[in-house]
């Protein structure tokens, strides 16, 4: 199987040739850390690139693929500088061991953080191969060139393929500052190319976590606390045990995030690190699922039996009346004074709901714990983080844990935390067998962790000429930092929560500006969800920008262009959007175009929604999108990610939400947590800005401006301002 590398495979690769050139880089990714790998001497290295005698190139890919395209993007960086064709490179996922450094796909960071290190690794190997060839021909390296895995003597036209040079090259010093190609020299980066994972995804052969099967493997289905947090007072399993194929009904647990994993005897209301759970372990998954219904559990709700999202939003609205903990780095001028001096003052409060990630592949993991050896097969966003968590949880050494990263059937942030893997580990240890845990869709929708629902309270001041003088955004709600890393956010602004609206992301030149955060306890675990806080913040901010424009009788595009006049990339994106959407063309009555723009994860995206009044609601006629993500590695994949964000973001705006009453999640599956289907997606046109800037993120930046662009269009078409998501498009 191409996507997994077991320790065994790795050793086989390493030993099939006496001469293997392998280079790596440290977790810091610095060039100086590149070392030569000499397996015969057993020198410890960080092997990312292996070339064997036949010229075969293997890349260890440290960024799990959940659909965003890292399976191609990272090898492409290497292949470009190494000068081999991508189709000649074998891709293996890294196994979580520390020598590979960070292995997390998250925060739309994969290409951004590996843009230089991966290319440097490729270029260094290429220079060593060229030097080896030059030595043999007794010419200068400058008399040699490379082409698709071959070194060419420019004087004689003689050639060596890389495999023939590997032994000699492996004895050469590693260049610490190899010359990287200029943009104009790229042969593969930025050129149309097909993703190498696609064929396996159309013939059913791609292996996801769900597809892993081991000899002697048992299947587990879990009974979680209906209140998410909970302790088992007692449980009755006799009937379940009589179901054919059931081996065990066991008490297990669910851990939240990365620890500390407190002793299970007491529940710490502050860190909320563990809940009890019951597992049914059987010879087949169906037997486990069936028997689960026969188990009765008496739960202690630990004080969460009455928690409700309605209560939470009331608290957040109350918090919004206070000034909150200020983001000092975002402060411009004196907001209060500037507001006082304004001719017109407006304020508005926006609400965004809790959301479930609901990737198509529910959480699942297969783990085999054998004494102090642990092997995992799972769809996880970060095998290195998983190794750390498992080491802490099981009390084993990190180097005894090996993670086989499969393809991820979607993740959107959910699979960067590993509660489901820990359950499989706990059950494998209890049963002495490899155990595959499969969450049901109901587990997925009802158990969180969720995107925090937020209350954004905005205030702005405008002068009589329509100039914005003062701007304030108060964020009120749950803290992901508090939830995931147990940080105390009662008196501090969550440092992540300003995404999309902080000064770096939102360079609107307001003379006075203030951002703040007030923490409200969600009474449930919250987590990053595609585009994280930018998904909630930008809805409020970009909607309010239009409210200010209308208050000051300015065109929304013109107001933005004016306030962004010192940020040329924003201006270029807006101008391109206006051009492709025919923004200036007057629409007929009942038809309107609304826009929004945001920077997040180092890329700028603007959308225009054209909507038409339709009965009591509106119909989306067309969506136009422009993205500036710096140098576009694969334009087609960037377009695909913008389309993907449109569908995901629109689902969140007009379809679904997570709500809780009496401590329980109200939704359970795709009938009541509805998502967009074929036939509900408006036509969209995506333009990717040509650029030679450093690459930015691609997987998430398309999402934040979706909802505000739609709602701004709706206001222009109907006069109605939507300030709470989700809403029904057919009844505004």
């Amino acid at each position: 199987m191409k996507t997994q590398t077991s320790r065994r495979d790795f050793l086989r690769i390493s030993s099939q040739s006496a001469f293997i050139l392998a280079l790596g880089f440290s977790s810091k990714g610095s060039v100086a850390q590149i070392q030569k790998y000499n397996p015969a001497l057993g020198v410890e290295i960080n092997p990312y690139i292996i070339i064997n005698e036949s010229g075969k190139v293997t890349l260890f890919n440290p960024r799990p693929d959940m659909g965003q395209g890292t399976y191609q993007a990272l090898p492409l960086l290497l292949a470009e500088e190494l000068d081999v064709l991508l189709e000649d490179v074998e891709i293996q996922m890294t196994d979580g061991s520390a020598r590979f450094g960070s292995q997390l796909s998250g925060g739309s960071s994969s290409v951004r953080t590996r843009w230089i290190p991966m290319r440097t690794a490729g270029a260094a190997v290429r220079e060593m191969l060229v030097q080896a060839a030059a030595n043999r021909w007794k010419v200068s390296p400058s008399d040699c060139s490379t082409n698709n895995g071959v070194v060419i003597n420019k004087l004689t036209k003689a050639q060596f393929n890389y495999g023939e040079l590997v032994e000699e090259a492996s004895h050469l010093p590693v260049p610490q500052k190899p010359k990287l190609k200029s943009f104009s020299e790229f042969k593969q980066l930025g050129k149309p190319s097909k993703r190498p994972d696609v064929p396996a995804k159309v013939d059913g052969s791609a292996v996801f976590g769900m597809d892993v099967q081991l000899p002697g493997m048992l299947y587990a289905s879990i009974i979680h606390s209906p209140y998410i947090y909970g302790k088992v007072k007692s449980f009755q399993a006799d009937k379940a045990m009589s179901v054919k194929g059931v081996r065990f009904v066991l008490k297990t647990e669910r851990v939240f995030f990365h620890g500390p994993f407190a002793d299970n005897a007491a529940f710490d209301q502050k860190i909320r690190s563990k809940s009890d759970a019951i597992a049914v372990v059987a010879d087949s998954y169906w037997a486990a699922v069936k028997a689960k219904k026969e188990v009765t559990v008496d739960w202690n709700a630990l004080g969460f039996a009455e928690s409700a999202t309605e209560q939470y939003f009331n608290q957040a609205r109350a918090a919004a009346l206070r000034e909150g903990n200020e983001y000092k780095e975002d402060k411009v001028g004196d907001f209060s004074k500037a507001l006082q001096l304004s001719d017109y003052k407006i304020q508005a409060t926006y609400q965004t709901p809790f959301m479930s990630h609901a990737p198509m592949e529910p959480c699942n993991a297969t783990v085999y714990v054998q004494g102090d050896q642990v092997e995992v097969w799972a769809p996880v966003q970060g095998p290195d983080g998983l190794v750390n968590d498992l080491a802490t949880y099981l009390g084993v050494k990190p180097e005894k844990i090996k993670v086989n990263v499969t393809f991820l059937g979607g993740a959107f942030g959910r699979k960067a935390v590993f509660d489901f893997v820990m359950q499989a580990a706990n059950l494998s240890r209890q049963t002495n067998a490899p155990v595959k845990v499969i969450w049901t869709r109901e587990d997925d929708i009802q158990q969180g962790p969720y995107r925090p629902g937020m209350i954004s309270a905005l205030q702005g001041g405008v002068d009589k000429d329509g100039n914005v003088l003062a701007f304030e955004h108060r964020l009120n709600g749950a803290s992901i930092m508090a939830s995931v890393f147990k940080a105390d956010m009662r008196n501090n602004p969550d440092p992540w929560a300003g995404e999309g609206i902080n000064l770096a992301d939102s360079p609107y030149a307001f003379p006075a500006r203030r951002n703040s955060f007030s923490w409200v306890d969600p009474q449930m675990p919250v987590l990053w969800w595609r585009s994280v806080y930018a998904s909630t913040n930008v809805f409020a901010q970009e909607s309010f920008m239009d409210e200010l424009a209308h208050e000051g009788e300015k065109d929304p595009l013109a107001l933005r262009l004016h306030l962004l006049r010192d940020s040329p990339r924003f201006v270029a994106v807006l101008n391109k959007l206006a051009e492709i959407s025919d923004y200036q063309v007057k629409r007929k009555k009942g038809v309107a175009i609304g826009i929004a723009i945001a920077r997040s994860f180092a890329s700028i995206v603007a959308h225009a929604f054209e909507v038409q009044k339709d009965g009591t609601g509106v119909k989306i006629k067309q969506v136009y999108s422009v993205i500036d993500c710096g140098f576009p590695l694969n334009e087609d994949n960037i377009k695909a990610q913008v389309e993907s964000n449109l569908v995901y973001g629109l689902s969140a705006a007009i379809k679904n939400q997570i709500s809780r009453t009496h401590g329980k999640t109200d939704q359970s599956n795709f009938h009541d947590y509805a998502v967009l289907r074929q036939g509900e997606v408006p036509p969209c046109q995506v333009f990717v800005m040509p650029s030679e800037e450093e690459p930015g993120g691609v997987g998430e930046p398309g999402l934040p401006p979706i909802a505000p662009a739609l709602c701004n269009a709706i206001f222009l078409a109907t006069g109605k301002r939507v300030r709470t998501l989700p809403f029904d498009l057919s009844s505004i």
């Binding site: 159309v202 013939d203 995901y648 967009l676």
Partner: protein
């Protein structure tokens, strides 16, 4: 436990499972075709779609006992040799899949649509594909690929 005779991808399989076992788990865990996926367990998402005598069904809510030995079941692995079905080729051409998890079901649903409707309109596509969710949002590309596959099939017939 009972013994059932199933015809999956033109091969006969004899399986011993409980009568209420959904076809999905028989295909995946007993027979070993893992291209068919589990998504919701309630027939709501279409990830488990297979063809029963050419028509798409949700295998997660089809008990194995309801199937006859003469029924022909097709999974993604049996749709073509080496991904050469026009729908699969169009899928690669349009670079449809992202995470890929729902795609087996999507491709089978699309192939069934084209088998009964050589030139589907956008409305036909909406109706035929409404049962298959894609969280990555590959819907626009699937629409484009279905139209392309239809053209490909028509051209192949003409020549």
């Amino acid at each position: 436990m009972s013994i059932y005779q199933l015809n999956v991808n033109k091969k006969k399989h004899r399986v011993e499972v409980d009568s209420d076992t959904p076809l999905l788990w028989v295909i995946r865990d007993t027979i070993g075709y893992t291209g068919t996926k589990f998504g919701c367990g309630m027939g709501l998402c279409g990830a488990c779609t297979v063809l029963l005598n050419g028509s798409p069904i949700r295998s997660c809510s089809t008990p194995v006992s309801t199937l006859k030995p003469t029924d022909k079941i097709t999974t993604i692995e049996g749709l073509s040799e080496k991904a050469t079905h026009p729908v699969q080729e169009a899928w690669i051409e349009a670079q449809v899949p992202q995470c890929g998890y729902c795609q087996s079901g999507q491709i089978l649903a699309a192939s069934a649509l084209l088998a009964s409707n050589a030139n589907p309109s956008d409305d036909d596509i909406d109706a035929a594909m409404a049962g298959n969710i894609c969280r990555c949002g590959t819907y626009p590309r699937m629409r484009q690929a279905i139209h392309a596959a239809a053209k490909k099939i028509q051209n192949a017939k003409k020549s």
